[in-house]
Amino acid sequence: MNPDLPAWSLTADAVESIAIASQWPERVTRDWAIGGATGKDVDVCILDSGVDGDHPLVGGLESAVAVVFEDNETRIVPDDVGDVVGHGSACAGIVRALAPECRLHSVRVLGSGNTGTGDLILAGLEHAIEQGYNVVNMSLSTTRRRFAELLHDLADSAYFQGTVLVASAHNMPVESYPWRFSSVISVGSHEGTDSWEWYANPKPPVEFFARGLDVDVAWSEGSTIRCTGNSFAAPHIAGLSALVLSKHPGLTPFQLKSVLYLTASNTGGSE
């Protein structure tokens, strides 16, 4: 089998060539999944309102770009504006608290008006996937159907290349994307206040519930405030994903989702 070609089929003599070393324990536990992990060497991207890298809870940024909308076109430009709301810093701080040694990147899609929102999200996500980040946190969605197919293709590309997309579920009675796609990890809030508490939902499309209530987060101009919303639950799962990937590099999004499932607070693997 030519290793450069995609594996469209598996011939009998090629079975040995794709042997996967068995690394999985008999029972997946949190200790196996994240025990001692720090997020080291994992790149986490925050697709949001920008990130204030100097905020003490964020603790530094590896890179920052902004997607701008000019003359009906999107462009990626270096970003020195920081955070135009505070929310991106909040997400970055949550990820940092869980995975202290991960590398954080900011892709700012806010601040350039509302008109091109769908295009901005699309271009920002495309950029994040091109960069090959391990985890992308998206606490946002679009209701525009014309973007659904394009976002779906991007989410699949990310899934196949091994970039984990974590998106906050929309707790409103509307159709929105990309959180509903099965190639994305979608997250809603539970009512607990423990950042290490997460639940697998047996009734998707929301797949996990993580902490999203009364979270003390980084905000604008170095401040911290207390917030609630699914948009704060998603970065908890993004941070946990960074931990798993730092301890078990090379896991596919499918495998990572399985680890999160097996170690959830309601599936028996949470010790």
């Binding site: 929310h87 707790n171 009675p173 919303g229």
Partner: protein, 216 residues
Amino acid sequence: MTEDNSYREAVAAGMLASEESHRALLQSIVDVARAIFGAKASSIFLLDTATDELVFEAVSGEGEGDLVGMRIPSSTGIAGWVLVTGQPIVIDDLQRDPRFARQAAERTGYVPKGLMAVPLVNGETTLGVLQVLDRSQGRAFSLGEIDLLILFANQAAIGLDLLQTARRARAVLEGGDGRGALVARLAELLERADDDGRGAQLLTALEAVLRRDARG
């Protein structure tokens, strides 16, 4: 939409909605939102798609009367974030957000401690943002309260969408100068102000003449 369809819609809408009913609905939304949560204030921003700005359209409680008409950028600040991302958010100690506190102080002198903000979404369209400021602290906050606000916002968005369609249609009706617009205006007048039926008699006679000419 074809011109004919626009006029047809305009006639229907002209009978439905007036500027006053639009204002009344907006005010009712903020009044009810405030009452549901025992809040000090509630406000609505609507998106002005022509200028891509958020416009303060209605306020109940603190700041009432001062803010209406104020415009802010559509994708910065907390309201902008909610509009663009479509995600509801609750903030409990907003006074610690220096940027927000500064702007609120400049605008009204009223800096709320807490804020709940949800997008007003109907189908694919995000119309604006509904905010509830300083809700009652008498009970512990739960996710159920956000769900309640979302349900209410959804109902409000449906009503608003209907009235905004009517507003646009009315603009077509009032702004059109062709024959279609004239007929649409006459139809509306007939519905609203033809109490003794003389207008209808006149138009029926006109129709008969035109039909005869068309045959002839």
